[in-house]
Symmetry: C2
DNA sequence: GTATGTATTACGACTGTCGTAGTAATAAAA
DNA sequence: TTTTATTACTACGACAGTCGTAATACATAC
């Protein structure tokens, strides 16, 4: 289980990535992250929902209510065009971050596949 | 230039990595990071010095005063045994973080060198 | 004596995460 | 039919790390 301190700053990217596949809602996204990371990363609910609010305020996602109901009413979110651009930027930033942090890792595997 | 929001959580690792090579002080570390990342990452002075304070409080580094004086007096820091262990842990965490975040990157290069 | 480079400290603001708790709706079990 | 479990979300306050801005302090060169 990874502390979110390390992932902090990429939670947005994770959410947008999943919304890129299909519109979804908090609870499902939460389960999906758990699943895809084999429980190695669990995004806290408060973190997740506050990220949704923030992303919507910024215009990266938009919301609508779902009609299915196996419990409480769902708020679905879908990624906007602006959100797609933001996601791409975040991906590039992530790529750059990896290169930088790898420079400060001894016994680093970056030395094995150093591209240049 | 990378925003520290992405690196946040690994600033400690960066500092410890450099201190692993030799004892050093804020100003030098700052220049060294700039240099090694070709100015792509610049750790803000306030961030850096407050990280030093925090790391010392946690027992990961210890400080002493330098005698050389080409300006204001320097506070040198050196990594402790506890700090070395912490650095290793951070490296492992970084490794895990990369694997996780990569799963949420489309057009991801992780698909090129996926180890397993 | 003032500007420049070296080196550190102070302080308050902001943002994202987290713990804890509560609300709300449905279905299944007792 | 009350309880319990699962689904789904919200509220609130605390905390940590980063950042902007500014000040301080010492030394050297102009």
């Amino acid at each position: 289980m990874i502390s979110s301190d390390g992932i902090r700053g990429y939670n947005d990217m994770i959410l947008l990535c999943l919304l890129l596949e299909k519109p979804s809602y908090g609870y499902e996204i939460s389960r999906e992250i758990k699943l895809r990371t084999a429980e190695r990363y669990i995004m806290k609910e408060t973190t997740l929902y506050s990220a949704f609010t923030r992303l919507e305020k910024s215009g990266y996602i938009s919301s609508f209510y779902g009609s299915e109901t196996n419990g409480r009413r769902r708020t679905y979110y879908q990624i906007t065009e602006k959100g797609k651009v933001f996601y791409q930027e975040k991906c590039e930033e992530w790529h750059a971050t990896k290169e930088i942090v790898d420079k400060f890792m001894k016994n680093g595997e970056e030395s094995l596949w150093k591209p240049s």
